[in-house]
């Protein structure tokens, strides 16, 4: 008989040992999964790490994969910290990509560098607007934000597909005969290409830098301001927050808007940094929003941890795409993410509780 009892004090070493232990267990479980499905685990892992982090080219690809994950991870972390489960990062990213691309096309090459900030703002507005739908519904009708934000992901995917594949919208390229038969988005003007920082053979997208700056700003906001304090109180104890006179509704709206804006900037970064067009297939196939939830949960909603973990999961995802084939089934990366998440979730219990086996448990009861 296993008994689990609450720890009175959390030893320091546990906060490091448990996540590391969880990772080891996760790799153990993955080894079993791979063996059970007839793959060589050692070979698979070494190829994953090589393709994700093994060379400068691999690292550059990983930075590209990590950029959207950083935004969606922050999007989820910001909201989850208040126990506001915005899982609409996926749709909010599409909304940001739509408005971001729109701003880029509209400004053309006339305003020079102003295109970039304009796209960031447009992306943020798009994401925030979509996130405010579940936000308002939650604040004023206490509607479950998990389901409403998720449903809007599907709607968002349909809208972005509609704009390119089923209409002659502003975003669609209708200039040539082939473009009319094979629908694709308009190419963004040169001024809408975001700059790249380049040193020692590594290319850092502007979006990634912006994301890291955002992470620092969020950390300051949540740990050094009254706003952040109230968000944390509402998250940990909504009743205490109400008694203290905190305005929960306003916080819900503000946090949802912030969360959606971050995902929206991630969408604009997809346009400006990488795709240079509104690309429905690429955006909807990638599943950035859902990976962001994994990242936020693994990072325990800490913005700096989000940066680190989105880099690691970015590498995993990049390797997954690169290796995808007969001996490396798609979906493997999703399975790994899930297993890691399960193990870390399960491991968390060890920081809060101690596990005892029956005999020792009875003894402790006697002394208590």
């Amino acid at each position: 008989m296993i008994r689990i009892e609450r720890r009175l004090a959390q030893p320091r070493w546990l906060t490091v040992a448990v996540p590391l232990g969880s990772l080891v267990v996760a790799f153990g479980v993955m080894t079993l999964v791979l063996l059970a499905t007839g793959h060589a685990p050692g070979h698979t892992f070494s190829r994953l790490i090589d393709t994700g982090f093994g060379s400068k080219a691999a690292l550059n690809e990983t930075l590209i994969s990590a950029t959207p994950l950083l935004f969606t991870g922050l999007c989820a972390a910001v909201a989850f910290r208040m126990q506001l489960f915005n899982i609409g990062g996926e749709g909010q990213l599409y909304a940001g990509a739509i408005l971001g691309a729109g701003a880029g096309i509209a400004l053309g090459n006339h305003t020079g560098w102003l295109s970039v900030p304009a796209m960031v703002v447009a992306g943020a507005v798009g994401g925030a607007a979509l996130a405010l739908v579940p936000g308002i519904l939650r604040a004023f009708f206490s509607t479950n934000e998990i389901i409403t934000s998720l449903m809007l992901n599907y709607v968002g995917a349909l809208v972005v597909n509609y704009l390119i594949f089923d209409s002659e919208s502003y975003w669609r390229d209708t200039s040539s005969a082939t473009a009319k038969v094979f629908p694709q988005g308009k190419n963004l003007p040169d001024a809408a290409s975001w700059p790249v920082a380049h040193s020692a053979g590594l290319y850092v997208p502007f979006g990634l830098l912006l994301g890291v700056v955002l992470a620092a700003v969020i950390w300051l906001l949540y740990t050094r301001t009254r706003f952040g304090f109230e968000v944390q109180v509402i998250g940990d104890s909504p009743r205490a927050a109400t008694y203290a006179g905190m305005r929960t509704r306003r916080k819900i709206l503000a946090v949802m808007a912030l969360s959606g804006a971050i995902a929206g900037i991630g969408g604009a970064s997809q346009d400006g940094d990488f795709r240079h067009t509104l690309d429905p297939r690429g955006l909807t196939a990638a599943g950035y929003g859902y990976a962001g939830i994994v990242i936020a949960a693994l990072a325990r909603y800490n913005p700096f941890a989000v940066c680190l973990i989105s880099f690691l999961l970015g590498g995993l995802q990049n390797a997954g795409f690169a290796l995808q084939g007969a001996d490396f089934p798609s979906g493997l990366v999703g399975v790994m993410q899930g297993v890691i998440l399960f193990c870390v979730l399960g491991g968390e219990v060890l920081t809060r509780y101690r596990v005892r086996f029956s005999r020792t448990a009875r003894r402790s009861e006697a002394t208590a």
């Binding site: 296993i2 689990i4 009892e5 609450r6 499905t37 007839g38 489960f85 899982i87 739908v133 519904l137 009708f141 206490s142 509607t143 479950n144 998990i146 389901i147 409403t148 998720l150 449903m151 809007l152 599907y154 709607v155 349909l158 809208v159 597909n161 509609y162 089923d166 209409s167 599943g287 859902y290 990976a291 939830i293 994994v294 949960a297 089934p329 798609s330 979906g331 493997l332 990366v333 999703g334 399975v335 993410q337 899930g338 297993v339 998440l341 399960f342 979730l345 399960g346 968390e348 219990v349 509780y353």
Partner: protein, 324 residues
């Protein structure tokens, strides 16, 4: 567009939409019944979409391998139950956050996770199903006016789902076990004091809930569109979770709700096939089930507090005997 077309009442748009409502509502119904059982025990499982997809791919694999539809359903149920077991272990034994664990299950098992991995690894994508469930009653019955297409021209899975609704309703309202279950969901401490095994009930109903979700997923791959495609359920698992809320945690209302959403899921196909409103972009119809879910959810949640509607009082909270 007329409500009564020349081909008789069975070809009228209303009858066709209602018939498709039953067909497309069936996976929602199975998944919602399963989620209802889990939630009645106090376990919120947001992994329905993932459990449905794993059930869908494993059920499809089983029918390709064994040629037995019955076995395929059993395999789908076991696969769904196995997924639910992970969630049960995490939230009941390890007391992890139910929302995060459920989301993790959806990511682990979902469209870009285990279900896709299995689909690729078992090499079942892109094949037509060797066998599938279809209407089996005598043709004269199936062609009966109005009730034929709506109620009778369906597969065994539809009829079985009605039996399940009745069984769950009787179980919850009329049996000792069902009443114990409700006690566990409403007040685990009181149930524990009565000598009910809270942990056992939560495990059992979460796993059975997963089995229902697995069967619901298999309804897609064995009946509605008999093939395997990544993410074939297209959000049905999430609609099922919302459905439990609309149904006020009552099995009979799940039936009504499932067909309501089934109708919206079927409308894009019906309208497209008949060229109705062909000028309207198809995405508008395709977004209907999702938009309707949001709208109905708002109506239900603004009608009053969830508790008054019948949400189990202990939903989402772990039970720790030492900390009550």
């Amino acid at each position: 567009m007329t409500l009564l077309a020349a081909g008789g009442i069975n070809d009228s748009i209303l009858v066709v939409v209602l018939a498709s409502a039953v067909a497309y509502g069936t996976p929602l119904l199975y998944a919602a019944l399963g989620e209802l059982l889990a939630e009645r025990s106090g376990v919120l499982n947001l992994g329905v979409e993932g459990m449905m997809l794993v059930g869908a791919v494993m059920g499809f694999w089983a029918v390709q391998r064994t040629d037995s539809l019955l076995l395929a359903i059993v395999v789908a149920a076991i696969a769904g139950g196995a997924m639910a077991l992970i969630h049960a272990f995490l939230v009941v034994t390890l007391r992890a956050n139910q929302i995060v664990s459920g989301l993790a299950l959806t990511i682990f098992a979902g469209a870009a996770g285990l279900s896709s991995y299995l689909g690729n690894d078992l090499n079942v994508a892109g094949q037509p199903a060797k066998h599938s469930f279809g209407p089996f009653l005598p043709h004269s019955w199936q062609n009966a006016k109005v009730i034929g297409p709506i109620l009778l021209a369906h597969s065994e899975l539809v009829f079985a789902s009605w039996v399940c609704v009745a069984l769950v309703a009787v179980y919850l309202g009329r049996t000792r076990l069902g009443l114990n279950l409700r006690a566990v969901g409403e007040s685990p401490a009181a149930a524990d004091a009565m000598g009910i095994n809270v942990v056992g009930y939560r495990y059992a109903h979460t796993i059975v809930g997963g089995a229902f979700a697995g069967v619901g997923g298999a309804t897609f791959t064995l009946s509605i569109t008999p093939q395997w495609v990544d993410g074939i359920t297209g959000g049905a698992g999430w609609i099922a979770i919302a459905l439990v809320i609309f149904a006020f945690w009552r099995p009979t209302l799940c039936l009504v709700g499932a067909y309501f959403f089934g109708a919206f899921s079927g409308i894009p196909f019906t309208f497209q096939a008949r060229g109705i409103l062909s000028g309207v972009p198809p995405e508008l119809f395709q977004s209907l089930p999702y938009v309707m879910t949001v709208i109905v959810l708002v109506l239900v949640s603004s009608a009053g507090a969830r508790r008054r509607l019948g949400a189990p009082a202990a939903l989402g909270t772990p039970y720790v005997r030492e900390e009550r």
